[in-house]
Structures are given as C-alpha cells and as structure tokens.
C-alpha cells in the first residue's frame, strides 16, 4: 500500500428515539487477496483488512470479518436502533496490525 487507508462514514447526525438508521462505511484499501502473482510469477502476499468493528459509546454494535474475496475499497453497511445520544467508533484492522479509526456523533431526540 502506498497510501494510508482513508475511512469515510455516512451516519445521520440526528435520529428519533428507536429510529432505525443505516450506517454506511467505506475505506480505501487494495485488499490484496494473496491470490495474485506479480510479473515474475511470484505470489503477492495477502494484505487485507480482516475485521471491521462498530462501537457505540464503548459497546460493540456490529462486527464483520472479511476474507480476501471482499472487494478493494471495502464497503460495509449495517443498522443501528437509536437508543441514546453518543458517539460511534469505527475500527478497521489490517493484516499488518495497523488499526484505522473513524468517529461520528449521533444525537437522539
């Protein structure tokens, strides 16, 4: 990877209590599958984001494990039932140990 992965998230700023909101996330990443060969015929080693986690006020809401078949620049969406105001923390864990993070606030009225 030449560029540091950049996360982008789509979270509504406000929600009514008990409203179902859809969270959409994207992160720039090649998701090198470990299946490809370079021009010399050598296998290019696997390097993917293997786990995506969404916490709200410190508690895990949703988690995904990704395999090499997940597309480059992985997209993940899921739902959250608005219970209280607070903050989402989204984390993407790379095969190389790096963790990329993004936060988003939600106000529940």
């Amino acid at each position: 990877m030449s560029n540091k992965p950049v996360p982008r998230v789509r979270v509504p700023a406000n929600a009514k209590k008990d409203e179902l909101i859809e969270i959409k996330t994207l992160i720039s990443h090649e998701m090198e599958s470990g299946q490809r060969k370079d021009s010399a015929g050598a296998t290019i080693p696997r390097k993917i984001i293997n786990t995506f986690t969404a916490n709200f006020n410190g508690k895990t809401v949703f988690e995904a494990t990704w395999h090499p078949a997940i597309s480059a620049n992985p997209y993940q969406s899921f739902f959250y039932k608005a219970a209280e105001s607070g903050e989402f923390t989204f984390q993407w864990k790379d095969d190389d140990g790096s963790v990329y993070e993004s936060k988003a606030k939600l106000t529940v009225a």
Binding site: K24, Y75, S77
Partner: protein
C-alpha cells in the same frame, strides 16, 4: 402459451382494436390502406389515458422496419407472446394476411406489402397523433411515457450528442422517461441533458458505486383525470454489462426487485390510485416481475422491441408492448376508481407515414436538425437486389453485409457483429445510403477491431451470449439477439444449457471444424473494452459497399437452429 381464449377471458376487448379500425373486415379489405381517421379511431373509456412510446432509437424520419420471423421463447416463455411470429401471430390475433397490421406486425410478405403500405414512424407523424389524442381526450387526462432507447443510434444523434432527438422529443412533451442506450452518451452528457430536461428521467435501479445512493429520481406522482398515478422508472438492468461500463463508471444497475417492491408500497402509501412501471427490463423479465412484485397495475415494456396488439395480463397487471423505431404508439384508456383499474381499452396505433399528416412544427425542427448532415445521409453506397433486415434471434441479411464487410475490409477469417435489435430494413432494388448503414451502426464505440482468437475462445463467446439470450430464467437474460458471425457456421440449441448450446462450429473457408487451439484472425465491432482500435464500422461497411456496388442477399444461413 396464452391462448386466444385466455386473452378473451382476461377481459380484453380484443375486437376494439380491429373493429375500431376496420381491420377485421376481412380479406376484402386486406390491402386497403388506412386513413388518419382510421388510425385515430378509438372509443374513449374511463378517466385516464396512458400513451406509451419505446425504443425510438433516434429515428426522426419514417423507416422500413421488418419485424422478426424468428423470436424464440425459452422456459416459461416458450410459445408465449411475444415469442410468436409470422402466420401464427396473425392467426392468434385474427389479423388478415396482407392487411396493414399484418405488414406492421410480422415479417410475412414484408417486401411486397412495404411497397403498398409505405414506411412507418417519423416523429412528425407521431406528433400529429399525440396532439390529436390530447385534443380529443383532454390534456389533463393524458400521460405520455417514454421507455427509453430514445437518444441514440442515428447519424444525426451521434453527431449532435443527441441534441437533435432531445429537442424533438421535448416538443412531444413527454411526462417521464427511463433509459438504456442513453447512458452510452457517457454519464456527463446524460447529466447535462437531464439537468435541462423538462420532464424527469426516472430510474429506481441505478446507484452510485460508493455509498449506493440513488442517482436518478426513482418515481414521480402525477395527477390526471382526478387519478393519482405513480410512475416508477426501471432503467435497463444490465446496461453495465451489455454496454461499456467505463462510460458511466460510477453508476451500478441491476434489477433490484426488492427495492422495486418497496417503491410500489411507498407509492401506495402516498395515495397512488394507479401504479405504472416504466420499464426497460425487456418483455420476459417484465412478465416475471408482474408475477412477483405486488401492486403494479400497468407495466409499459420495452427493450425487446415487441409490438403486441393487445395487452398481456399477469394477475392484476397489464403489460403493454409498443414496438420500436417509432412504428407505433400505444394508447391505454383506464377506468380507475377506488384505487383499482375497473376497466380498460387499448390500441396499438400504427404510425403509417403515408396516411398521417406530418405535424408542421415537428417537421420543421427535424428538417433543421438534419440539414447540416443531409448530404452525408443521402450518400449512396450501393444497391441491394433483395430484402435486407436485421431483427430476429439470428443473423439477418443486413447482418451478412456487416460480417462480410469485416471479413473483406479487415482481412479477417471470422467476423463478429452484435445482435442489436435496432437497425432498419431495405427493400429489394433500393439504393443503400449512408443513413441506412448508420441507422444500423451509429454508436459511441464503433471501432472495428482486428485480433486473433483461439477456437476455444470463439466457442466461449458464443456460449456466453447464447446463455444471455436463452437462459430459461429471464432474470438471467441480458443483451440483445445472438451475435452475428461471418466466416463460421454453427448449430445452436436454444434449449440447451450454458456450455452445451453451440455445436458443429465450422470454418467456412475450408469446411473444417473450428480447432479449439488454432488462432483465427477475427474482426468485430462494438467492443465494450477500453482502448479498442480500428476504423468505425460504418467506414468498413461503406468501403465494402462502394467496392461491391450491388448486394445479393444469400438464401442459406450458416446458423442451424436445433433442438426445437
């Protein structure tokens, strides 16, 4: 198959079409031409009129367009309309042989009937018909809906980036459209046009490739005759497969049936009395949609270019098929009360150009747009001794001209030409003009490439395209008709499975079977690949015709259909 009896049971006033127009009067009237009054005759019904046009393919002026003589249905569609052609079609709808509608709707005796009944279509004639219906019915009861494949595939539309056809369509004042080939103008141009379009391009099934947001308005509510009408747009679901994805790289398509169901429910929730799907799915997909998505009253179909003189009913849903290239407009009068269609009357109105007075305003606009290109359009490239046509599941005589031209001009052993359903016909003895050739080839990726392919690759291509046409599940069908081939013969079993439909591939030059491991020099055009090199196909065909001067269509076909 839908029998005549079932059609009647479905409550279709089948005779309205024929009786109203004098078409059922029998053979005595068979060759009698229609007048504008005959064409417009219609006993109005109910409170709303839907007017439907589809697949105009930028044809501003009248053309010859021969309907297919072969249009096979597979799976549940086997033997069911629109997969009935020729005499069977005439028998099913009780249309007298040799009558105007026999000429308009089948390939039977096409060349001789064409001389009697003349060209069909022309937006100036269409404008006359639409104005007359609006005047008679009241504009506030009419909704004009365009299913798309409107902006491309003529020389003038290619040269003006669709400005000609867009301005002419605007004059018709449609209420909404959806799209397919329009996207081959490129996303930027489509956005530029739609920004100033006085009516919406509706598509519930297009999403951006980042956050999956809808790119176009999915539906719009209209009120006509006191009826709230929700029109949902469905663009061609396989645009990004059948056409170059690079031209709209940030848009994803697909059928999105679940979302369609949600759209219907939302529309009903907003108080829609009538739900109309403006669809570019193609007839067989729409037939399946009608059986699975609840709450659609009318599906206006397109893409597969079928023209049906009566609606097809699936449950409570009416399917309307209006043909292509401006040959027809459908009028569907509906009696909508208590959120239900209580009754309807339908007519597939044929646009016989000799019988209909051109609308002066539209005629002037068409003339203005064509004037800068008139000299090119009229340029004579050659002459044909026999009938040239494309439409049909397999290679037509006009396709032979294209595949032969590629073999000769590109010095290839085998040639491939896409099975598009558009492209008009030429009558025996007619001069072949540049307009005739570009009406069958004008597109934004026309390069005629020359490459080598192994025999195994050719087999894979034929099988893949064969499965796109003949997969028994219409949701897995995509694209147009079977790819046209020059220099090679083959047998095709439409009822086979993927990988097993194509056999007896023969290299015509030697008569030997195609060798899976040998490289063949192949020419073709309309590649969806980026960076395809070669002259535009109309130059290749033009060069061939200029050298050849006269075309004599072959009688025998190198494609054998087996398993029927």
């Amino acid at each position: 198959m839908v029998s005549r009896r079932e059609l009647m049971q479905a409550g279709l006033a089948a005779s309205a079409l024929l009786a109203g127009s004098g078409l059922s009067a029998g053979r005595a009237f068979a060759q009698q031409k229609l007048t504008q009054g005959d064409i417009l005759r219609f006993e109005p019904l109910g409170n709303v009129t839907l007017l439907h046009v589809a697949d105009i393919h930028a044809q501003l002026v009248p053309t010859w367009f021969r309907e297919p003589s072969i249009n096979l249905g597979v799976g549940e569609a086997k033997g069911r309309v629109p997969h009935i052609t020729g005499k069977d079609f005439l028998d099913l709808y009780q249309i007298p042989a040799g009558s105007p509608m026999a000429y308009a709707l089948t390939a039977e005796d096409f060349a001789s009937l064409a001389k009697n009944y003349g060209r069909m279509g022309g937006l100036d004639r269409l404008a006359t018909i639409i104005k007359a219906i609006r005047a008679e019915r009241g504009e506030n009861r009419c909704l004009l809906l365009d299913c798309g494949d409107t902006w491309t595939n003529s020389w003038t539309s290619l040269q003006t980036k669709a400005q000609d056809i867009v301005e002419c369509m605007n004059l018709l004042k449609p209420d909404a459209m959806t799209a397919h080939w329009e996207f081959t103008l490129g996303a930027e141009r489509v956005e530029e046009i739609t920004r100033s379009l006085p009516y919406p391009l509706l598509a519930q099934n297009i999403r951006d490739t980042e956050f999956e947001d809808k790119v176009f308005e999915p539906r719009r509510m209209f009120e006509r005759g006191g009826v709230r009408i929700a029109v949902i747009g469905q663009a061609y679901p396989y645009t990004a497969i059948a056409n170059p994805r690079r031209m709209f790289p940030k848009w994803a398509f697909g059928l999105r049936e679940d979302e369609l169901q949600k759209q219907v429910e939302e529309a009903r929730g907003e108080g829609a009395d009538l739900v109309v799907l403006l669809s570019h799915n193609g007839f067989d997909i729409d037939h399946k949609v009608a059986g699975r998505v609840r709450g659609i009253d009318v599906i206006l179909t397109s893409h597969t270019h079928d023209a049906l003189p009566e609606p097809v009913r699936v449950g409570q849903t009416l399917l309307i098929a209006t043909g292509a290239c401006g040959k027809f407009i459908s009028r569907l009068d509906l009696d909508v009360r208590a959120k239900r269609v209580q009754g309807f009357r339908h007519r597939l109105i044929p646009i016989f150009s000799d019988a209909i007075e051109p609308d002066a305003e539209m005629a002037a606009l068409i003339a203005r747009h064509r004037a800068p290109y008139e000299k090119d359009l009229k340029r004579i490239l050659g002459r044909t001794e026999g009938l040239l046509y494309r439409r049909g599941n397999f290679q037509g005589s006009l396709d032979d001209v294209f595949t032969d031209a590629m073999l000769e001009v590109r010095d290839a052993e085998i040639s491939l030409s896409p099975g598009m359903r558009w492209g008009g016909s030429l009558l025996p003895g007619q001069d072949i003009t540049f307009e005739d050739i570009t009406n069958a080839s004008a597109m934004t990726y026309p390069q005629c490439y020359r490459t080598t392919m192994k025999g195994a690759m050719l087999k894979a291509i034929l099988e893949d395209i064969g499965d796109n046409i003949f997969n028994p599940d219409p949701y897995y069908q995509g694209g147009g008709d079977m790819v046209r081939v020059g220099g090679m013969g083959f047998s095709v079993n439409p009822f086979g499975t993927v990988g097993n439909r194509i056999s007896n591939m023969t290299f015509l030059k030697t008569g030997a079977p195609i060798d899976a491991n040998r490289d063949y020099v192949v020419a073709g055009w309309a590649s969806i690949n980026e960076g395809t090199q070669g002259p535009p196909i109309w130059e290749v065909v033009g060069q061939y015709l200029t050298a050849r001067k006269t075309i004599t269509p072959r009688n025998e076909s190198a494609v054998k259909v087996v398993g029927l």
